[in-house]
């Protein structure tokens, strides 16, 4: 492989790669604003200027101050080139740290801050802002321009999700390119030049495609802010964990940013995974974090409608066991969930087979508008995992469950999860049954139709895995601790099995997962 040298370090590259790209792959960051590994090259921020020290030097004329003469005299300085656009060549010697380059970085940074407002204390980007980082690393001088800064529009509503502040904008055009190249929707562009430069919407349009939050995600400064996250949290109080999006069957990898003080998730950010989501996520996926704190089921209940009353956890398990054991196993329906982890589903499938129940159903959301970018038509993260848990057996939809209940073939239901495409009215036949038990983290039509509801932990609170539409199993660890007395679904199912007098053969997640690999082998 050909090699070039960057600051004394040899870097090998594929022919056609740029210096920036090759360095980035090696984990070396050349300071940059406008370059993004997932976007086309703009080379407009000039922060990544480097000097090619090998070969014939290009020189630029300049006037330099000569102290001995006390005046400016003609001289030359080396011509620097943007690393993001500079094709790497074999044996090339590049410096991103010599004095010329350092002076250029300091000057570029000074220019970018020339008209920047004093907004750090009220800016959501503060703490993860490249202007701040690069100021400290590459500039470190105080303001020289003492005239009034240029003022531009602030707080411009670009659409339902994004607010734009032109004064903070450094015109890197990343947001324009993300709309063009990722969302394939040319809704943003820039107008004017120099001091009047600003990002604008296409006439008559709003920023309302399915990937608008990616514009905020790629914005290296605080110019684009998400209306959802705006003024909600300061980033230095947030900690980050790794998760998998529950929005659809694509299974985008996420950074889960949460505040450990309040045990609350504040936002998701895409986590780079070239095999799944590259650098991106869709808006609906980004917003799935809100489920963690809304519509949770926090206590066990029994009864229906207005008669629903809280129940002690142990009593709820006992009552569920009593009702389930009153139903003949051949008439007991086991409802797996495409919204829950493979582990939860596996534990439930095991309980079903221990009881001898052979009727397996799958509760799932009814799909959404997919596209050929990231969004899958199936808005359930784990349909494949549920079917693996069932040992590859065909899972009937909930609509058939309703029909089976009506025909009297099913007289008891044990259901996992909150999600179902059917509304409560459609589930009315279930309401007439006594033995309907729901294990759920959130409210929903299925739990509402159940006689006994047992709370389980949410996705952000448990360790588990999803299998996406490509058949990739992606595991994640919980970032938050579950509310008091609430446990992961598989653990609750184990308790329920115990109350039913069945041994499912696992006491911890490892034991359960061993069963999972057996199931995977059996399925193949």
């Amino acid at each position: 492989m050909p090699k070039f040298t960057l600051d004394g370090k040899e870097i090998s590259f594929e022919p056609g790669e740029t210096v920036m790209q090759a360095a980035w792959r090696e984990g070396i960051e050349i300071p940059h604003y406008c370059w993004h590994p997932g976007l086309s090259i703009a080379a407009n921020c000039r922060m990544c200027l480097v000097q090619v020290e090998s070969g014939r030097q290009m020189a630029m004329p300049q006037l330099a101050f000569d102290e001995s003469k006390g005046e400016y005299v003609p001289s030359t300085k080396p011509k620097l080139q943007p690393a993001c656009q500079l094709a790497a060549a074999d044996e090339m010697v590049v410096s991103s740290t010599n004095d010329e380059v350092k002076a250029a970085q300091a000057s570029v940074q000074e220019f970018l801050l020339l008209n920047h407002p004093v907004d750090c204390p009220i800016c959501d980007q503060a703490g993860e802002c490249k202007l701040q980082d690069y100021y400290y690393e590459h500039q470190g001088s105080l303001k020289r321009k003492l005239t009034e800064p240029v003022h531009k529009p602030k707080g411009v509503r670009f659409g339902p999700t994004i607010v734009y502040d032109a004064e903070r904008c450094i015109m890197c055009t990343r947001c324009i390119r993300v709309c063009d190249e990722v969302a394939k929707d040319h809704v943003l562009d820039m107008r004017e030049r120099g001091n009047k430069n600003e990002i604008i919407l296409a006439p008559g349009r709003e920023l309302d495609h399915k990937y608008t939050l990616m514009t905020e995600h790629v914005c290296p400064v605080g110019a684009l802010t998400s209306s959802d996250f705006r003024f909600k949290a300061r980033v230095w109080f947030l900690k980050s964990g790794e998760g998998v999006c529950t929005g659809c069957a694509t299974g985008c990898n996420t950074h889960v940013d949460y505040d450990p003080r309040y045990g609350k998730v504040y936002r998701l950010r895409p986590r780079d995974n070239q095999d799944v989501n590259q650098f991106w996520m869709c808006d609906d996926g980004m917003m799935t974090y809100t489920r963690q704190a809304t519509d949770r089921v926090l206590t066990a209940t029994s009864g229906r409608g207005e008669d629903r009353l809280p129940l002690a956890e142990r009593e709820a398990i006992a009552k569920a066991a009593e009702q389930l054991s009153s139903v003949d196993a051949s008439k007991l329906a086991i409802v797996l969930s495409a919204q829950n982890t493979t582990e939860d589903n596996l534990a439930l499938a095991k309980l079903g087979s221990a009881l001898g129940a052979e009727r397996l159903y799958l509760a799932a959301l009814g799909g959404w508008e997919g596209d050929d970018i990231l969004r899958s038509d199936d808005n359930n993260p784990n349909r494949a995992g549920a079917s693996l848990a069932a040992g590859g057996a065909a899972l009937k939809p909930v609509s058939e469950l309703i029909a089976d209940v009506q025909s009297g073939e099913v007289q008891g239901v044990l259901a996992l999860g909150w999600a179902s495409a059917e509304k409560l009215e459609e589930l009315a036949p279930l309401v007439s049954l006594d033995a309907v038990v729901s294990l759920t983290s959130h409210v929903g039509a299925l739990p509402a139709a159940a006689e006994v509801v047992i709370p389980i932990a949410d996705i952000f609170e448990i360790e588990g895995s999803f299998i996406n539409a490509q058949g990739m199993a992606q595991s994640f660890r919980g970032v938050l601790s579950a509310p008091a007395d609430i446990e992961p679904g598989w653990q609750k199912i184990g308790e329920l099995a115990k109350a039913l007098g069945k041994d499912l053969g696992f006491t911890n997640l490892d034991g359960l997962r061993k069963g999972l690999s057996d199931a995977a082998e059996a399925a193949q």
Partner: protein, 405 residues
Amino acid sequence: MEPADELLNDQASLELDADPMRLNMGPSHPAMHGTIRMVMDLDGENLVNLDVQPGYLHRGFEKSCERGTWAQVFPYADRLNYVSPMLNNVGWSLAVEKLLGIEVPERCQYYRVVLGELSRIADHFTCNGASAMELGAFTPFLWLLKVRDWVWDILERETGARMTHSFGRIGGMAAPPTPNFKDDVRQLIPELFKVVKETEIMLLRNRIFLDRMQGVGVLTKEQALSYGCTGPVARSTGIPYDVRKDHPYLVYDRFDFDVPIGEDGDNWDRFMVRLEEIRQSIRIIEQALEQMPDDGPVNVDDPRIVYPDKQDVYTTIEATIAHFKLVMEGLRVPKGEVYSFTEGGNGELGFHIVSDGSGTPYRVRVRPPCWYNLAAAREMLLGGMIADIIPTFGSVNMIGGECDR
């Protein structure tokens, strides 16, 4: 009749136990200032064995440093030797500046010298005064603390606090000298000389004081070296080691001053060395005030190290960012490790710091002079009498905050 009397009657004589008596002194005892415990084996009044046990004031100083920024160590450094906090402040500043590879402006260097020497004077006044008081001479104690208060008045005017100043900064000081600084110090100097003289008149020909100090608590030169003693304790044995002289830092190489040494290494020599050091410190202060520029910057000119002016922080983005970075993440110190040492009140005060290149110290290790001096205290005390512990331990000037960290 009491049982003991009966015993006497029965056997006509009382056998006293010939084994040494084990006695605890401290950690809660008025003479064990600094919170220390001594376990003694006594034969009558004589010490046959002694175990000096420090550690009762351990507050995890070094570990605490690893969670804040580099600048947030100053309040901790204050509370090492809380009798001369300014010397610790300057010691910490110099350690971080050494790793950063920067040097503060000359005006600041003189300022640090003067404030540090004032601190040293206050330290020695306190130690000598307390030594005298514990031997029953209360007047010299009040006499010396009176001038210590005058010294503290100046420090308060300069720093805003009498004792724990937290006045040092990396790359400078929290504030420039006040306009009256030089005059204030110059006015104080004759008073300091006067009180040193008066102390000599009060104590140096006092029979009780002489008997309790001379030939008591002897430490030999060899012992001092083998224990790693520094400062007045080492100098009293005849070792002329003074960091200011042997490894000059700041601008100490520009001053003409002597390093007083003793001969016998007893309490008396330690007392006299400290008294003479007060005079030498005054000499240094006089010269420093003479040479110190009246104008010019005190802090280094780099907003990435020193907080920018508040006015700039509120009006310009550059200063806002610098302020934000310094407060939220701390100034970044290059990767590496360094040992920096200065002459503290009790001897060589060293900071061994390791940086991983972030805004937080990776490891801070303090070489507290007291720790080594205290280790030698057993040698001074063994074979002596229990009452000698008081003046000897006093003259070691163990400071718990620094010793136990």
